[in-house]
């Protein structure tokens, strides 16, 4: 009857992911404030915002369609399922085989697809700007992501995230050039996907610069809360993805006892803290790019990914 | 076929080629008609001689037809047409007389080479005869190609027919069908030309082919 404990572990992962996401966002904002010698909002501020928004009434535009009201829940569901499948503190979870890395990226693609549609539903120019730019970024970010997946799959011989992490954990894989390139490309894509500073400024509502915010401009109340939660979930997902592949130490291997799980959780928390801190310092150290510099930025990520894949194709040793 | 008969036939055929050359040289219509009549006379002599040499009586009829129609009837008819149309003086060749003559010589040489490749054991008279006939045919065609005037083109066509008659009669024993067909074509040529010339005259007031060309198909 090994199913029940596996189910419990999978359940804890899904809840853990849900709870940690706003905390990570709060922590990053806190560190950014501290770096610029500002006190900044408390770390738990995102939780308070979510609760406040949930209680408010949702104000919808006159010509908003039924799709406008369904999309937030769809985005939240797809992002949450993707986040639940990425190993955080343990690998080999019960449902990890339902979708491999390509499927997870496709789920995020679906979330972006619906978000872009939501942006265009009300028929305002800002929604159009947001969707059009988001979709342009995606045309370069997604192929780069798939190239990274190819590299990882070619190294690990499988696209299943758990087996990739397992292989990385068992240190069968030394330091490799293609892995280095894949890491840099993954970081660049993560920045673009989560609308962080060089690509898009998450903090501002300045009409001309915002991309992600422009699409969710018309949302309010509970819909906005769900979308904000989904956004922070996505940030957490990318963090745990980088952590589980490139910093696999501490991940609980299936079959080991509860202690390993606890060790895994502690290690995961530490990784998140380090990741959040690095992200905050990087964001304060760099200014936002012009919109049409981003394609070169993402083009570089795509070329790095393609180069990494090519190296893997050419010979085993790279 | 003793030597003398062969030499005379050979002489007459050569004479016919010579007359064709003379026709190429003419640049007056009346002179052209006279030379054409001369060619018809030489042709009928050659046919008559062939008749005597092959003792094939039917050839005499062809000689007679050639003499009466081609030597007398057609030149006179054309003469009268030219007189009515009043185009005695206009005859201009496309290419100057010099180059035409050169081309004529080249053509005769070509027909000699082509015909002489025929293996010698075929009876020698046939070979020379056909060579001369081919030369007359090619010269007639050359004449049609290098003249603007409809009448001279028709005369060129008629000299081609003379070449054919020479070839036909040279072929010993060719059944009567050939004679009828040759006569048939001469007859038809005469009638059609007559009708056409009058109609062209009536329509275009000239028989110069260039005037006719204005109405080439689909020009408008």
């Amino acid at each position: 009857m090994a199913v029940i404990p596996a189910l419990v572990v999978q359940g804890t992962q899904m809840l853990l992911v849900l709870l940690l996401a706003p905390l990570l966002t709060g922590f990053v904002r806190k560190v950014k404030a501290r770096l610029v010698r500002r006190l900044g909002p408390p770390v738990l501020q995102p939780y308070l915002d979510l609760l406040r928004l949930l209680r408010k009434e949702a104000v919808l535009a006159e010509n908003a369609s039924w799709l406008f009201r369904v999309i937030p829940y769809l985005i939240f569901a797809t992002t949450w399922v993707a986040a639940a499948l990425v190993p955080t503190f343990a690998i080999g979870l019960l449902f990890s085989w339902t979708a491999d890395l390509i499927a997870i990226i496709a789920l995020l693609g679906a979330a972006r697809f619906f978000l872009a549609l939501a942006g265009m539903d009300v028929g305002t120019s800002f929604g159009g700007i947001g969707s059009s730019r988001e979709v342009m970024f995606a045309t370069l970010a997604e192929p780069a992501m798939i190239m990274i997946v190819f590299t990882l799959a070619l190294i690990a011989g499988s696209t299943q995230l758990s087996s990739i992490a397992g292989l990385m954990l068992s240190s069968g894989v030394g330091l490799r050039v293609s892995l280095g390139l894949a890491l840099i490309a993954l970081i660049m894509v993560a920045l673009a996907e989560n609308a962080r500073v060089p690509v898009d400024n998450p903090a501002t509502h300045l009409e001309l610069t915002m991309v992600h915010e422009a699409m969710v401009l018309e949302y309010s109340g509970r819909h906005l809360a769900v979308i904000e939660l989904a956004a922070s979930l996505k940030l957490l997902l990318y963090m745990s993805l980088i952590a589980c592949v490139f910093l696999p130490w501490g991940l609980a291997v299936p079959g080991t006892g509860v202690t390993a799980l606890l060790v895994g959780m502690v290690a995961y928390a530490a990784k998140l803290a380090v990741g959040g801190f690095l992200l905050a310092t990087f964001e304060t150290a760099i200014a936002k790019m012009r919109v049409f510099r981003v394609p070169d930025f993402l083009g570089a990520a795509l070329m790095l990914g393609l180069l990494a894949t090519l190296l893997r194709f050419v010979s085993r040793s790279f | 076929m003793n030597g003398l008969a062969f030499d005379v036939a050979h002489l007459l055929a050569g004479g016919l080629v010579l007359v064709s050359f003379m026709m190429l040289y003419q640049d007056r219509l009346y002179a052209l008609l006279n030379v054409f009549a001369l060619q018809a006379v030489v042709l009928s002599l050659s046919v008559a001689w062939q008749a005597w040499a092959q003792d094939a009586p039917h050839l005499y009829i062809t000689a007679a037809i050639a003499l009466v129609l081609k030597a007398i009837a057609i030149p006179v008819a054309l003469h009268r047409i030219i007189a009515r149309l009043g185009i005695q003086r206009q005859i201009e060749t496309v290419v100057g007389v010099g180059p035409t003559m050169m081309a004529g010589i080249a053509l005769v040489a070509l027909s000699m080479v082509v015909m002489l490749r025929v293996t010698p054991e075929a009876d020698p008279l046939a070979r020379e005869d056909l060579a001369f006939a081919l030369s007359v045919l090619l010269l007639g065609l050359l004449m049609m190609v290098t003249r603007h005037n409809a009448v001279s083109q028709v005369v060129g066509f008629m000299s081609i027919e003379n070449g054919l008659i020479l070839a036909g009669t040279g072929a010993k024993g060719m059944p009567l069908v050939v004679e009828i067909s040759v006569a048939f074509s001469v007859l038809v040529a005469f009638i059609v030309i007559g009708i056409f010339l009058f109609r062209i005259r009536e329509r275009f007031d000239t028989v110069d082919v260039q005037a006719l060309d204005r109405f080439r198909g689909g020009q408008q």
Binding site: A58, T98, D100, S131, R133, A138, L302 | Q219
Partner: protein
């Protein structure tokens, strides 16, 4: 005997076509579509029975006198018969409703069943002559359908370009079959399989097959007619042409290269992969630049065909290097995408037809906000857009995922050329997938969402029940194929076995109905569970929030950063939505240049932004050919107006030259 049933179905179709010409009954359209529907269902059933009963063949005393007309239904043709008849049945169902709006039914009704008969015959043919007769009969009837709206300005030109390209393709196939048949004319497919072609001529046949089938399917250099012809036909016919005729072209390529040509060489894969990869990206980039709804769909057909040919190229590479299991995976991915594309492209063209009947408009710039007026159509088209953008729960993603798995197997290939080409093609595939998502966000967003840009869009009304039912059925099939890819993969196994003599592992027994292409450890994907998780968590979240937090809603004018009641023109249009992508990709693909004409301050002249775009295929291939032909025509035209004397000199020169040849002959 399945083949006899298929032939009866074709005979029934041809009979309906003839009747449709003669009979002038008012309810002719309903009768024709009804009988055609029945015929396609017969064909569908007969094809299924082949999977059970096995190959059946028959020879009729028609066609070439000494070999007769041979017909054969084997696994490959059975699969394509299923795809064609399924799509055709949906089109007939759709035709019941859509056919009523046709103002010149007399030009569409006879050719619709004839077109289907042509397609079925191509799939049944078992000798070169019957194959090409039915192939060209299919092109002829579809040309007539394209010409059915001959009064609209662009259609005559589209029909002309189409028929020329169709005959170029047929002649290429004819030359290919000529090579296969050899000088003594063994035109039967059985004889062609027997005497294997020499490597050199096999390469040539592959090139000709790629050219011939590619021109009909729409591979890039040969695609120019497709976006002109498909939109020109009535919508349910465009669905047939885009969804099914391109698949018949893929069948032709499969039949010639995989079946008749015998064991492949490795370098065969290079042209197929290269052309396939380039086609995917260029196809979808063209689609992004179009404003005509049906033309966007036609260009996206080109993209999906490119994906199919990449799968076929991979299968060729693996089969040549002795990896039958990998070849089976790649071929299954390609055939799965053939099945999927037939479904969602027909669905999208039905949607486009519905929009056309509701608003009378095909230009996306004049539509918008149709989701309010046409709820059913918008849901169904949304499903189509999600499917074609290869997003998880639906079937588009399943075949895309298999294609990526096949690419990941390719490091085993020893040849250096393929080692460099396959990753590049993989990158092109990924790029095309992302661009496709962008294209269909744009299409759905501009047409269905936002506010209606013209009164025509504002007064749109939902289409009739028949069209809705056809669309709903096809959308349901897309969902089912997306959720249960394992069932489709098992269905394809016999076809793949017959072509590359190996198959993918059986998917039936795997727990939780997930799909495992190669091995458990390697990768697996469970469409059903992903779909269940997403819907469960979405409804759970919605339920929890509605009950625990608030479910109050208030309608108010759109916020739009404080700009009150913005005009309709401030909405994003199709061009402006694609402008960033055009600026990033279009610069060197189409040499797209933007010329901004900004009047100096104080000048009342309006500012003008013009986008100059070049279609490279037209400018570098078709333009020069057309110019060459017209130049030659002008040059030779003078020959018509020579004088009699000059014609005589021609005869004279011919005679003299021939005599010279005789004189100089050795």
């Amino acid at each position: 005997m399945a083949v006899i049933a298929e032939l009866w179905c074709v005979a029934l179709l041809l009979g309906t076509a003839v009747l449709a010409v003669i009979v002038r009954a008012p309810a002719a359209s309903r009768a024709v579509y009804g009988v055609t529907l029945a015929a396609t269902l017969i064909g569908f059933a007969a094809a299924f029975s082949t999977a059970v009963a096995g190959t059946t063949a028959v020879t009729l005393p028609l066609g070439l006198p000494w070999i007769g007309a041979r017909f054969r239904v084997d696994m490959l043709s059975a699969f394509f018969l299923i795809v064609v008849n399924l799509g055709a049945a949906a089109a007939c169902l759709y035709g019941f409703g859509y056919g009523r709006h046709e103002h010149e039914p007399k030009r569409v009704l006879p050719f619709f069943p004839a077109f289907l008969a042509g397609m079925n015959l191509v799939l049944l043919a078992d000798d070169a002559f019957t194959f090409l007769v039915s192939w060209e009969f299919m092109s002829l009837s579809s040309w007539a359908l394209v010409m059915s709206h001959h009064r609209e300005p662009g259609n005559a030109y589209a029909g002309y370009v189409y028929i020329i390209m169709a005959s170029v393709g047929t002649l290429a196939l004819l030359l290919g079959f000529g090579l296969l048949a050899g000088p003594y004319g063994f035109y039967g497919f059985a004889e062609m399989r027997a005497n294997a072609a020499t490597p050199m001529s096999a390469g040539l046949v592959l090139g000709l097959a790629l050219f011939g089938a590619g021109s009909k399917a729409g591979l890039v250099p040969l695609h120019v007619w497709l976006p002109l012809a498909h939109p020109a036909a009535p919508s349910h016919v465009s669905a047939l042409m885009s969804g099914l005729m391109t698949k018949v072209a893929v069948y032709a390529f499969l039949r010639i290269v995989f079946d008749l040509l015998g064991p492949p060489e490795w370098w065969w894969a290079v042209p197929v992969l290269a052309v396939g990869g380039v086609t995917t990206v260029l196809g979808v980039l063209y689609a992004l630049m179009q404003n005509d709804l049906k033309r966007v769909l036609a260009y996206s057909t080109i993209e999906n065909i490119g994906l199919v040919f990449v799968g076929l190229g991979l299968a060729l590479a693996f089969a040549a290097s002795g990896f039958p299991a990998a070849a089976a995976l790649a071929l299954t991915a390609a055939l799965f995408h053939v099945f999927n594309h037939a479904l969602f492209k027909s669905l999208l063209f039905f949607g486009a037809g519905a929009v056309l009947t509701a608003t009378g408009e095909r230009n996306m710039e004049r539509l918008g906000g149709l989701i309010h007026a046409m709820p059913v159509t918008s849901v169904v088209v949304l499903v189509g857009c999600v499917a074609i953008s290869a997003l998880p729960p639906l079937n588009g993603f399943a075949s895309e995922w298999l294609a990526f798995q096949a690419i990941l197997l390719s490091p085993q290939l020893p040849q250096w050329g393929l080692k460099l080409l396959v990753p590049a093609v993989g990158a092109l595939l990924a790029l095309a997938a992302a661009l496709a998502a962008a294209c269909f966000v744009r299409m759905f967003g501009i047409v269905f969402l936002g506010r209606p840009r013209t009164p025509a869009a504002a007064q749109a009304r939902e289409v009739d029940r028949w069209s809705q039912s056809a669309m709903i059925i096809v959308a349901a099939m897309c969902l089912i194929a997306g959720i249960l890819p394992g069932a489709v993969i098992d269905g394809l196994a016999p076809v793949v076995q017959s072509l590359v003599h190996d198959r993918m592992p059986v998917q039936l027994g795997i727990p939780w109905l997930s799909t495992i292409p190669i091995a458990e450890s390697r990768s697996s994907y469970n469409g059903l569970l992903v779909f269940l998780f997403v819907t469960a968590s979405a409804s759970l979240a919605a339920y929890a929030i509605h009950h625990l937090a608030s479910h109050a809603v208030r309608r108010a004018p759109a916020w739009d950063c404080g700009f009150p009641n913005a005009g309709l023109a401030t909405q994003y249009t199709a061009d402006s939505f694609a402008e960033p992508i055009r600026r990033v990709f279009g610069a060197y693909v189409f040499r797209a240049r933007e010329h901004v004409d900004m009047p100096p301050p104080g000048d009342v002249r309006p500012a003008k932004l013009t986008v100059e775009r070049h279609d490279l295929a037209w400018e570098f291939i078709y333009g020069p050919i057309a110019a060459g032909v017209s130049l030659a025509a002008d040059r030779l035209n003078r020959m018509q107006f020579l004088t009699i004397r000059q014609y005589l000199s021609l005869v004279f020169l011919a005679l003299v030259s021939l005599l010279l040849v005789l004189a100089l002959w050795p």
